[in-house]
């Protein structure tokens, strides 16, 4: 009798193995990657079926869908990684409509040569994030590109959710007199990531604030369904989000510098590099526009939630044909908080 064991497949060498072109070719190597790495981590009834699609029950209510591509570098940063970031990011985009996120899809573009150990770390982080959020990754896809044509891994996540009846949120719904609330400190994510960049390296306790906000949102819209708009200030920071909403709604805004919560270390890190915390990315915060008479209630509800403890009322919506976002500085003067001209770059001048 030969010594070949029927059905035996040599397991993936996670410790030392690397992605190669065969992992994307649709053959046995790819099936093994899916089986032993992806499906093992995500492990839910849909993925267990091993179909190319997930058959889902029809949800009650208006459906919301969102998609996000994640190309963050470095892949691992204090407080998170591209994996959990991609889960949180899409859950948040869906949640900003007031929707309850239901399912996620995840697409991976892997670079030839990418270490399997890193991939497993990322996938397990994603799975953990999805489990903690109660939003499963029900379907996915993987492709491999030649070395040099990718940045290790790119992840695209798509999310689907349902909006409770009667709720209408949108960036175009801000009205003069409305109040502006932010759910917590700004600039944490961007500065945590920047602290890892080679030539800017500084030692810090700062961690990314990456988090799934749908629980906070659910509490908010249940208590205050009159909320006009929700948005998470990711790339471009709080300033960009406020300008976006002002632009969409055709209004102006005035915020109070002293009211915007910023961690001391984030302020300090920004001083070092000549950056403005208002423009630094966040991954676990949201901005809410709410009618003035409901602002106090919304603030109270937010502060009861772990992700909204530092929620603060930072300003109000005004009438302004020019759609300027203005700020009363801590100093007593006024300035515009303008659109960003490209990415903020550290400066020496």
């Amino acid at each position: 009798m030969s010594g070949v064991r029927p059905g035996y497949v040599r397991p993936l060498d996670i410790r030392n193995g690397r992605i190669d072109m065969s992992h994307g070719s649709g053959g046995r190597a790819m099936a093994q990657l899916v089986e032993q790495l992806f499906a093992a981590a995500f492990d839910n009834e849909w993925l267990a079926q091993r179909n190319d699609q997930a058959l889902l029950p029809r949800p009650e209510g208006r459906i919301v869908m969102s998609t996000d591509c994640h190309v963050v570098s470095p892949l691992f940063f204090p407080g998170g990684d591209i994996g959990c970031l991609s889960v949180h990011g899409t859950i948040n985009d869906v949640a900003m409509s007031g929707a309850r996120p239901l399912w996620l899809a995840a697409g991976f573009i892997l670079e030839e040569g990418f270490p399997l150990a890193d991939l497993q770390r990322i996938v397990e982080s994603m799975a953990r994030a999805a489990r903690d959020a109660g939003v499963p990754v029900v379907t996915g896809d993987t492709k491999v590109v030649e070395a040099g044509k990718g940045d290790g891994v790119f992840i695209t996540t798509t999310g689907v959710g349902v909006v409770p009846p009667g709720l209408v949120l949108g960036g175009d719904r801000a009205r003069p007199g409305d109040r502006i609330i932010v759910s917590g400190t700004v600039g944490d994510h961007g500065m945590a990531v920047m602290s890892q960049r080679e030539s800017l390296a500084f030692a810090t306790d700062l961690v990314s604030d990456t988090a799934a906000l749908h629980g906070l949102v659910a509490a908010m819209v249940e208590a205050v369904p009159e909320v006009r708009a929700l948005r998470d200030p990711t790339r471009g920071g709080l300033a960009t989000t406020l300008n976006e909403i002002a632009g969409q709604s055709g209004v102006g805004m005035t915020i109070d510098e002293a009211a915007v919560p910023v961690r001391r270390q984030v302020e300090a890190a920004c001083e070092f590099l000549g950056l403005d915390p208002l423009y630094v990315a966040n991954e676990g915060k949201l901005v809410a526009i709410v009618p003035a008479e409901r602002a106090e209630r919304l603030l109270a509800v937010m502060r009861e939630h772990p992700l909204g403890r530092d929620a603060a009322l930072i300003g109000e919506v005004t009438e302004d044909a020019h759609r300027f976002v203005q700020m009363r500085t801590r100093f007593g003067g006024r300035r515009i908080v303008d659109w960003l001209a490209g990415d903020q770059l550290p400066r020496i001048c």
């Binding site: 001083e271 109000e316 001209a341 770059l345 550290p346 400066r347 020496i348 001048c349």
Partner: protein
Amino acid sequence: MKYIDEFRDGTLARRIADAIAAEVEPGRAYNLMEFCGGHTHAISRYGITDLLPPAVRMIHGPGCPVCVLPIGRIDLAIGLALEQRAIVCTYGDCLRVPASDNLSLLKAKARGGDVRMIYSPADALAVAEAHPDREVVFFAIGFETTTPPTALVIQEAARRGLANFSVLCNHVLTPAAITNILESPEVRKLGTLPLDGFIGPAHVSTIIGSQPYEFFAEEYRKPVVIAGFEPLDVMQAILMLVRQINEDRAEVENEFTRAVTREGNLKAQALVSEVFELRRSFEWRGLGEVPYSALRIRAAYAAFDAERRFGLETRSVADNKACECGAILRGVKQPRDCKVFGTVCTPETPIGSCMVSSEGACAAYYSYGRFREISVVAPA
């Protein structure tokens, strides 16, 4: 943040503002130039203009090393990256400055040029050590504040015998620029630019001391107050200038006593003289050729001079005809006097040097203050 937050206190700002308002003499105008881009930035960012009486007019000067960097010099750096295939190390400030052929260092990077952003000249040295097979060029810019660190890395490169490291030197000098302004026709002859006093640069002065400005006070009878960078420093300096002008004094006063002395940092000065010497003339974007206003690397360190190593010849590139940067840098015009300000020329699509750097007069005004020109309905 210690020694930072205290100098941003809004309550104290009110007191200084009230003092300025109380002390400006009726019917008298106070035209003050803040030389330094950092002060321009502070004035805009903190909305200091809101706290000043109309009699005090702030004129923005040319103390922004990125703004006065000629296009031709950036072209040299781009050429080193794209044609010589050198690794070009640059501060973040220079990355987006538009140069010839619709290029910038950032765009050169997109085209395959190895352009790396660094925070410190020491990082450029580290890049050279890490890539002994490649030429590494440090694109050095800055006034007297930034020059001593460049001098140090050149000396260090010499000590280590780094054969692949060189510096493209664009260091410029503050007193020469101030002279240039004071000698400009608008100030000297035409009198169309009334200039009553200067706010002197903060960090340049930590290196050169307050002594070099005494010449301007004596020769041109203009008061100079050296101010720290924080908004309270700037306001206090304005108060001190108002007082000097009222009392018909033309002295050099130091508001930034916590960091500036009369003689400055002698060690740094000695270091700079060891490594650099004066160029007879240097083109400043917007100001034209300015004599004895810039530094080049001495013959003793020729091995680390990128201009010698690569046989570089600087081409003078004219600014767009509609660009009013020259007049704005000399304080003769304001950003809103420029026909292309805010339309064709914006921080995203800068035409001239004043819009290019975030502390250039036009950029600062556009980003922080352009709403003042437009009446805004205040919230109820």
